[in-house]
């Protein structure tokens, strides 16, 4: 391709925002308010991963009153409800319209490279050249499947939560759900209710009641300032970023291991290996449950302490008692896929952002983005929506507001410095 022709097909803009989910749109709104020339590139439609990569029954884990974006909040008649998938899509769609975000839909970014002091964003249509880049492509871009999945017998279908839609799509037979964080417990519950026998492999997990003393747990976490906790307020940010998502479902009911056991789900230890057509489960189940029980007790005790110091105006119910996690006397250590007719393994083993297209010196040896609170190690590049990126709420919908403001001003300062350099240089 000749330079002239390439130039003709290249759009020039100050900022390219990659991804038109809630974070990218919130940054777009900020940039528009500050008169910054930008474009939002979206591989599909607005709120694409909610449309294409989530299961049918998914609801937000935060109540409607908390699910807000800058200048845009839930205005329906069920503030304590939880948005369904279609409601989340409509909410984000509305936001894109309200802020008049310059979204180019159906544009897939194929590569980002440095080009003198700019960035070149190559796509499956035209290229863009920009000074700043906002990575709002999401923390949940690809489902992580452990390497041991390769040892599954051919009779077993391996599925990720991004592929799974509804129980009816699965073959007859039992299901092994691997992972007991939010995704794993929700899918185990839905599959067991649909009549399948579910075995749930449980590693490290965070147990949380949906409500405590009659109030939603996310409300408590917000009141206690836990959701607003910043990365400089925790002792080991690497560790807290790895903490799995709590066992929650977007409904008034608690969905912990005891609820699942009560419905007939069999609880086993984490999958330690797959050999000779059998899954082997770790003997660490007791300790993983003991840790989760202790952490839950500590959190509830800290809520009680908070209540003592902040006379809460609403009548609170008794704390009640929460049973420790029930465990079988002898947790099972192995499962034979053939003999027990387990035909599906659902890997609820976490999500990772996808940066396979990001060709900048900003990824470490493990392919993870190097950043300080979303300020990426490549100059003028910012991330959004990653797990505990700046604050505990960074990956939540309502977490976008503070992060976008902080990083938006960082970005403006970078553009100004850029202009000054250009003027004097």
């Amino acid at each position: 391709m000749s330079a002239a022709r390439r130039g003709a097909r290249t759009g020039a803009v100050d900022v390219v925002v990659i991804g038109a989910g809630h974070s990218g749109l919130a940054m777009s709104a900020f940039l528009s308010q500050h008169g910054v020339d930008h474009v939002v590139l979206e591989r599909g439609q607005v709120a694409n991963s909610w449309r294409r990569e989530r299961w049918d029954s998914l609801r937000l884990l935060t109540p409607n009153w908390l699910s807000r974006l800058p200048g845009h909040r839930y205005d329906g008649d069920d503030p304590h409800g939880f948005m369904s998938l279609s409601e989340v899509i409509a909410f984000i769609d509305d936001y894109a319209r309200v802020v008049a975000a310059p979204v180019r839909t159906g544009v897939t970014v194929t590569s980002v490279t440095e080009e003198d002091d700019h960035y070149r964003v190559s796509t499956d249509s035209r290229d863009w050249r920009c000074r700043c880049l906002v990575l709002a492509n999401g923390a949940f871009g690809k489902a992580h499947v452990p390497a041991i999945a390769a040892a599954l017998p051919p009779s077993v279908r391996s599925l990720t939560p991004m592929e799974y839609r509804r129980p009816q799509d699965l073959e007859d037979g039992g299901v092994l759900v691997v992972g007991a964080s939010a995704t794993g417990v929700q899918l185990a519950d839905e599959l067991q209710r649909s009549g399948k026998q579910v075995t749930l492999a449980v590693g490290e997990h965070i147990r949380l009641p949906r409500s405590y003393r009659g109030r939603d747990i996310q409300g408590w976490l917000e009141s206690l300032g836990i959701l607003d906790q910043r990365i400089d307020e925790v002792d080991d940010v690497v560790r807290v970023r790895r903490v799995p998502s709590p066992q929650l479902v977007g409904s008034p009911a608690t969905l912990d291991l005891n609820a699942l056991t009560g419905r007939g789900v069999e609880i086993v230890g984490r999958v330690a290996g797959i050999r000779d057509g059998r899954a082997l489960f770790s003997g660490s189940l007791r300790n993983h449950c003991a840790m989760a029980d202790l952490k839950q007790q500590r959190l509830l005790a800290s809520i009680d302490r908070w209540i003592e110091h902040h006379p809460y105006r609403v009548d609170l119910r008794d704390a009640g008692t929460i049973a420790p996690t029930w465990l079988p006397d002898q947790p099972r250590l192995a499962m034979d896929f053939g003999r027990e007719r387990v035909r599906t393994v659902l890997w609820a083993t976490g999500f990772r952002p996808d940066y396979s297209w990001l060709h900048l010196p900003a990824l470490d040896a493990k392919g993870q983005l190097q950043h300080e609170g979303g300020i990426v190690s490549a100059p003028g590049v910012y991330a959004l929506g990653l797990n505990f990126m700046r604050r505990r709420k960074s990956s939540f919908i309502h977490g976008a507001e503070d992060d976008v403001r902080d990083l938006g001003y960082e970005l403006l300062a970078h553009l100004e410095a850029f202009d000054r350099c250009a003027a004097t240089g």
Binding site: A272, S282, S284, N287, A290, M291, Q297
Partner: protein, 186 residues
Amino acid sequence: MLQNGTQVNNGVNVAALLDARQALTNAPEAARFKWRATTRWVNGTHSRSTVSSFFGLGAEQSRKVEFKYDADHPEVFASEDHGATPVEFVLVGLASCLTAGVAAVAQHRKIQLRKVTATVEAGMNLQGILGIDADVRNGFDGIKVTFDIDADASKEEIAALVAQSQKRSAVFDIVTNPTDVAVEVR
């Protein structure tokens, strides 16, 4: 937790451990260790093992002394009982690993320990190793570790110490998860 002004000392150099953690984060190759033991047959079921060198921090490491361990089986096995049975060495490994972990975590959390005792019991059905019943495994059918801990901490803090010690324990991981074992003859 201890009152202000009191120095917690469980004999664990936490600062050195945290420094090592930082150093090994930045130098992943130095974190690769090799542990070794050599076992020589003496007579009957009696063997003597020695433990001395290991590899770590990118170099061969030696100790001031060589540790020696006799292993045998008790007289009810028609053996001469010159030492603990190999399965008991596994229990010793597990309990001492967890106990070391309790001390390290307690030091890090500023909890003074006064007494820590771990008692381990493991069940085994000999029909496995004797080949009587193919459905019975050779190894333990379960292990129970009971800690008695006297420390300046609440019951919950002590439970959390023991839980964290399991989470970070090498032997707990070795015992609870499968490990690929290659046995060769030279």
